[in-house]
């Protein structure tokens, strides 16, 4: 086990190093000036631009910029954002909680409600509930999340005024309101963006889980379990569902990086202060340091997704050994 962990850690470092090196040079090779934003509103002269280039090290050869980047990385620094004029690590750390809250809530809903509904559909294959849920999930899956977000914000937030249309917290909520009130406030703001993202993702998970479970239900060992007189709930959830989880676990691994990258539009529509919008702004503005920081995070999540998937496989299937 420890040998496996060490090997995976080394692999992860290698994957990250290759990914970041490719990204670093691709970014610099692509057209577009990282100081473009600086000239957006107030055009500046070439002389002023030269000073700014020197400030951000953009006047150096790309190879030297790469060496500086690697040296910074070793020290745990990702440089200073051109757009925000602040250390990238601080910017990422500020936005990470909002992303984890939104993405985590979606992930939890997705892999509880989605799995449960998928299993129910499979067990009731062809019945009215299955047909209804299939129709609903297909509609959900086909709905563009940014459109759904706009509709929910307008209807629930503006027309009915039931929940906040945007933002993550009420800035006027007094500090004396207490932790519970503030948590409730964040929860109220969380509902619409989570609903928007979940409706689409739950639909996908339901479809995966339904298909996987249908395959399992037809296998002979399920009949054996029933023949042994086991209660139906135990047959379904203990014997069936456990083996129908593998495709969904793979899906979970793929979903992890989407925590950051997949919610860009929803973050924009709901003014949610997460990493997605920060990363998108970095791309549009060619903010190299911020872009590298966001890429490192996403690449890290991809590696972590694969790692967690392997562990989950080993835990669920005794035939799989982490060696």
């Amino acid at each position: 086990m420890s040998g496996w962990l060490l090997r995976r850690a080394l692999q992860a470092v290698l994957v990250l190093a290759i990914a970041l090196t490719i990204l670093f040079f691709l970014m610099r090779a692509s057209p577009g000036d990282p100081l473009a934003r600086a000239t957006e509103d107030h055009p500046i002269s070439p002389a002023e631009l030269a000073v700014l280039r020197a400030r951000y090290g953009l006047d150096q050869p790309v190879s030297r910029q790469f060496v500086s980047f690697v040296a910074g990385l070793v020290r745990g620094e990702l440089g200073v954002s051109i757009e925000y004029a602040r250390p990238v690590t601080a910017l990422l750390a500020e936005r990470l909680p909002a992303t984890l809250l939104l993405g985590g809530s979606v992930l939890v809903l997705n892999f509880t409600l989605g799995l449960w509904l998928g299993v129910r559909q499979a067990v009731r294959r062809g019945q009215r509930e299955d047909r209804w849920l299939t129709a609903v999930s297909l509609v959900g899956y086909a709905t563009p999340s940014f459109w759904l977000g706009l509709v929910l914000a307008w209807f629930v937030g503006i027309k009915l005024r039931l929940l906040p249309a945007a933002g993550m917290q009420d800035p006027l909520l007094s500090w004396e309101a207490g932790t519970a009130a503030r948590a409730l406030d964040v929860l109220r703001h969380l509902v619409l963006p989570v609903l928007t993202l979940s409706i689409v993702s739950i639909a996908a998970t339901m479809r995966y889980q339904r298909t996987a479970m249908l395959e399992i239900l037809q296998l002979p060992y399920m009949m054996t379990a029933r023949a042994k007189g086991l209660p139906e709930r135990e047959v379904i959830w203990r014997h069936g569902w456990r083996n129908a989880l593998f495709p969904v676990i793979t899906l979970f691994g793929l979903w992890l990086p989407i925590l950051v990258t997949g919610s860009v539009f929803v973050e924009a529509v709901f003014a949610w202060p997460g990493l997605g919008s920060l990363a998108a702004a970095a791309v549009w503005g060619r903010d190299y340091p911020l872009l590298m920081g966001a890429s490192l995070l996403v690449a890290g999540l991809v590696v972590a997704g694969g790692f967690l998937t392997d562990i989950a496989y080993a835990l669920l299937d005794p035939r799989v050994r982490l060696a």
Partner: protein
């Protein structure tokens, strides 16, 4: 369906309702005497002398105006020439010793937010920082005519200029609000951006910074000891939403009380108009949009542009466009067609001639005179086998320009000119335009209140003259206008320069919009300054 499915649905519904039920009532009492302003840009560096490069955003400039006071402010006329159009702030008065020397007397009541008096030393210190080229390259250029800033005692500061010109007072007061020397003189200039002063600034303005919640909002509290009177609105939240729809949703859902610059499409304004609790306030804006004609061949910058170097073609394009119709289609009544590169914020707009109306017939005659004729009757003119075809460069980020470009393409087709639209991602667009790789650039700029900034783009040696337009007569006229002493009509020398620019047609000047703000009606004494939207917030009151 099992019995627990409806139970689950009911529980989820109840949870939602209880969340909704705990709505804004909790904070309704804290709303009184406060205001939530929703804006598109997160302020990152609202510190005078530090707002350079990417930090030179409107969000930073406007927040800095709440935290820091200038020596004097622009008055309602926005007149930057002479000494008449300004109102006293940190300086209670100023005197002109000679044509190149201005002395300011500081208001003895002025205090930093830590209670220390504002002194002449602070002003001297600030201008030392502002004229440091490694810190503030843009400011150095703007302040190049200030030769020295010296203190005479605690309360008097003297500015000396390299030459007599009309905007000495403007240069001394507008570009850099004083910083507290007693807090900053131990921090090296290059270390200021990473110092705690940036996150916890101590200013001299009507509001102090309480907290910044990253990506969400900035909270300000009234400076109770502000020397010009305590602000009536005690708490200000500047809430950030980069998406225009999210901004409008925040306003219409009651989560915000005011919004800056409701951008087109006009449907956005119609949505807000339907809410009777809001009022719309159009304000002159520093924005101006135009079609910039490259004078040089994009393939060979040493050679003149094969088509656009001909004045007749440039004039034909301008006359071929119904600019008033274009502007109305996109901005409704909230924009005008400018005369020259003049936004609605520039005082020289007042009294300037009117822009010419569309004249398709004259446009066609000009093109024919230049040798462009439709010899193959395909609707597009040609000359010596070459079609009259040009490309229009524009950024994908501007919905206004994207919409206008399509309309312009159609109108120019009517005079036999084929326009190819090249929509580029913003950084790529900047790279192409600054490299001179374009025929026509759909430019949009934000101007300072001073017309002297026109030299940057419209003089032969202007730093941002990417189209390489050059007419020494224009340079001379601009120079006269800048150096001129304000008399009865200080705009006259500027009008002469603008007339020459219009005659040369280096661009088709399309729109000078008004920004449209929306504010809840229960705020009284509402006044929005074009140069800095919320500058007079300290005079607003809340009638709730």
């Amino acid at each position: 369906m099992t019995p627990w499915t409806p139970r689950l649905s009911v529980s989820a519904g109840l949870l939602l309702l209880s969340l909704a039920g705990s709505s804004a009532a909790q904070s309704s009492s804290s709303r009184r005497g406060s205001i939530v302003i929703v804006t598109g840009e997160q302020p990152t560096m609202p510190i005078p002398t530090m707002m350079e490069g990417a930090a030179g955003t409107q969000g930073n400039l406007e927040l800095a105006d709440q935290l820091f006071c200038r020596l004097a402010g622009l008055g309602p006329t926005l007149l930057t020439a002479g000494d008449r159009g300004f109102v006293p702030l940190l300086a209670r008065s100023w005197t002109r010793r000679d044509s190149v020397t201005l002395a300011f007397d500081l208001d003895p009541r002025a205090r930093w937010q830590d209670g220390v008096p504002v002194t002449a030393r602070d002003v001297v210190f600030t201008f030392e920082r502002a004229r440091n080229p490694s810190i503030a390259p843009r400011l150095v250029a703007l302040l190049r005519r200030i030769t020295s800033v010296t203190a005479e005692g605690e309360r008097r500061v003297v500015f000396r200029f390299s030459e007599p010109y009309a905007e000495q007072l403007y240069d001394a007061t507008f570009h850099a609000a004083p910083l507290p020397a007693h807090l900053l003189d131990t921090i090296p200039p290059e270390g200021l951006a990473r110092s705690s002063f940036v996150t916890h600034p101590v200013g001299s303005g009507p509001y102090r910074l309480v907290r910044t919640v990253a990506g969400q909002f900035v909270e300000l509290a009234a400076n109770q000891d502000f020397f010009l009177g305590r602000p009536k609105i005690g708490r200000v939240i500047i809430r950030v939403a980069s998406d225009p729809d999210a901004r409008i949703n925040l306003l219409l859902s009651g989560q915000a009380d005011a919004i800056d610059n409701v951008i087109p499409p006009l449907d956005n304004l119609h949505r807000i108009k339907r809410d009777t609790s809001l009022r719309l306030i159009p304000v002159p804006s520093p924005s101006v949009g135009f079609l910039l004609f490259n004078q040089r061949d994009p393939a060979d910058p040493a050679a003149p542009h094969p088509v656009l170097s001909d004045l007749r073609v440039r004039r034909a394009i301008t006359l071929g466009l119904d600019r008033h119709l274009l502007v109305h289609a996109v901005f409704g009544s909230y924009a005008e067609v400018p005369y020259g590169p003049v936004s609605s914020i520039l005082w020289i707009r007042n009294g300037a001639p009117k822009a010419r109306r569309q004249d398709v017939e004259e446009a066609r005659q000009l093109l024919a005179a230049a040798g462009w004729r439709d010899s193959d009757s395909d609707g597009i003119r040609d000359r010596a086998g070459q079609r009259l075809q040009l490309s229009l460069l524009l950024p994908t980020t501007s919905a206004v320009r994207r919409k206008l470009a399509v309309l312009i393409q159609e109108q120019l087709r009517q005079i036999g000119l084929a326009l190819e639209l090249q929509q580029l991602e913003f950084p790529l667009w900047i790279e192409r335009r600054t490299g001179g790789k374009f025929d026509i650039d759909f430019a949009g700029t934000i101007q300072d209140p001073s017309p002297s900034g026109l030299t940057q783009a419209w003089s032969c040696t202007g730093g941002t003259n990417v189209a390489k337009y050059c007419n020494p007569r224009v340079d001379s006229l601009l120079d006269v206008a800048i150096r001129g002493q304000p008399k009865e009509n200080p705009g006259q020398p500027w009008f002469a320069a603008l007339r020459q620019i219009e005659d040369d047609a280096p661009a088709t000047f399309l729109y000078a919009p008004f920004y449209v703000y929306a504010v809840k009606r229960h705020y009284r004494n509402v006044s929005i300054m074009p140069a800095s939207s919320w500058l007079l917030l300290r005079e607003w009151s809340d009638s709730r």
